[in-house]
Symmetry: C2
Subunit: 234 residues, 2 copies
């Protein structure tokens, strides 16, 4: 039974790293007190593992870091839960692909290994990373990702700002362009929000809710606490 | 001798399509009064060609549209100048690659065919599209682009907003992450600005200037009118 916690953002404005979601991570992990952290979205992998370790100590969770080598594959085989941290999605995906860890992690998560993703780590859980906000600073062999859910998430979803004078596309325009080319639904997950998946059930939690974009239909609002089971039907 | 006009954005806030840069396009084209427009960054290609045609009529320039087929290759072979319009950079690049037009256009521009790009069309002129702001809604076979200049441009460059509460990366953070992975300089071209290249000379024009990012160095400001010849040295 797949178990997922897909977080929009690691830090809320004015808060500290994971502050807003630490209690949810604690509840999600339940009796599991060991976590394998995936630091590949940032350049300083060791520093990132140290940050996650220091923060998760507060809830009595022991963190080890995933490495992109044979030792990493052994750690993943033994892992009781995984957390893929935020940063640059292309860098994260590229490292997961090159090391062969992408397929390995997809298989373990499909078997029920609890998976936590935040921002880039949430993009990684989707069928592809085609709804990332990140700059393509490296070139993965493919945009295909873990595919742990049958829909796309756009993390850090941002409503249009009527006062803006910037002429770049709004997030809603970008997702409309996505649907000119793709049929799969996209959940625009606002900062402060997350998605829980427990087998056939999914729901929205945290703050501020989400906006659901389906091809050929007007966007729908989903409030915190809303069920998302309908999105799990492929 | 390569001749390029690389524009940050097609429309300034409060203005109409190409208003701020129409006189520059007129001067850049000189005696050339026929332009081949590349509409592939938007889904509605015919509508996009019609928009460009209607706007460029004002300066007595006749527009035809590039198509992603054999007829398009013939039009490109006969073209006197090319303009690649803005939209989604991945969609533009993907169509140029699949049709074989990317290599054809690179060869013609290297021979001196005048090239105008705006936004996605400016990304296309760079060695790769790794500094685009766009969402990867489609998957090109490669991120390699025309390579008409030996540096990267980030169009719609946006200075950090100290009042923002959004936790997504600022543009400067994204470009710093780019330089964690790549050595090539990036010119952050603010809205209203453009780059002219005439053989071995390049300069910045329009409004608001640009911010130059080099790996391992603090960012540099470049004011409107500044020479950019140093960036042409590979």
């Amino acid at each position: 039974m797949r178990r997922l916690l897909l977080i929009s953002n690691s830090t809320n404005h004015g808060g500290g790293y994971l502050d807003h979601v630490l209690a949810e991570i604690d509840a999600f992990l339940g009796p599991v007190r060991r976590l394998l952290f995936v630091p590949f979205a940032l350049a300083d992998r060791d520093g990132y593992v140290a940050t996650a370790r220091a923060r998760l100590e507060a809830i009595g969770v022991e963190v080890e870091g995933l490495t992109a080598d044979a030792a990493g594959h052994r750690r993943l085989a033994d892992a009781e839960a995984v957390f893929a941290g935020g940063g640059n999605t292309f860098r994260l995906l590229d490292t997961m692909q090159r090391s062969g860890l992408l397929g390995h992690l997809a298989a373990r998560a499909a078997e029920g290994l609890p998976y936590i993703g935040s921002s880039a780590g949430t993009n990684l859980a989707c069928p592809t990373v085609r709804t990332t906000n990140d700059m393509p600073i490296v070139e993965p062999a493919s945009l295909r990702a873990l595919g742990l859910v049958p829909f796309q998430i756009n993390p850090h979803y941002l409503d249009p700002d009527p006062a803006s004078t910037h002429m770049g596309e709004t997030r809603e325009q970008r997702l409309r362009e996505f649907h000119e080319e793709n049929g799969i639904p996209v959940l625009g997950l606002r900062e402060g929000a997350w998605v829980r998946v427990e087998g056939p059930r999914a729901w929205l939690a945290g703050r501020r809710g989400a906006r659901l974009f389906r091809r050929g239909a007007p966007p729908e609002e989903r409030a915190p606490g809303s069920p998302l089971d309908d999105l799990l039907i492929d």
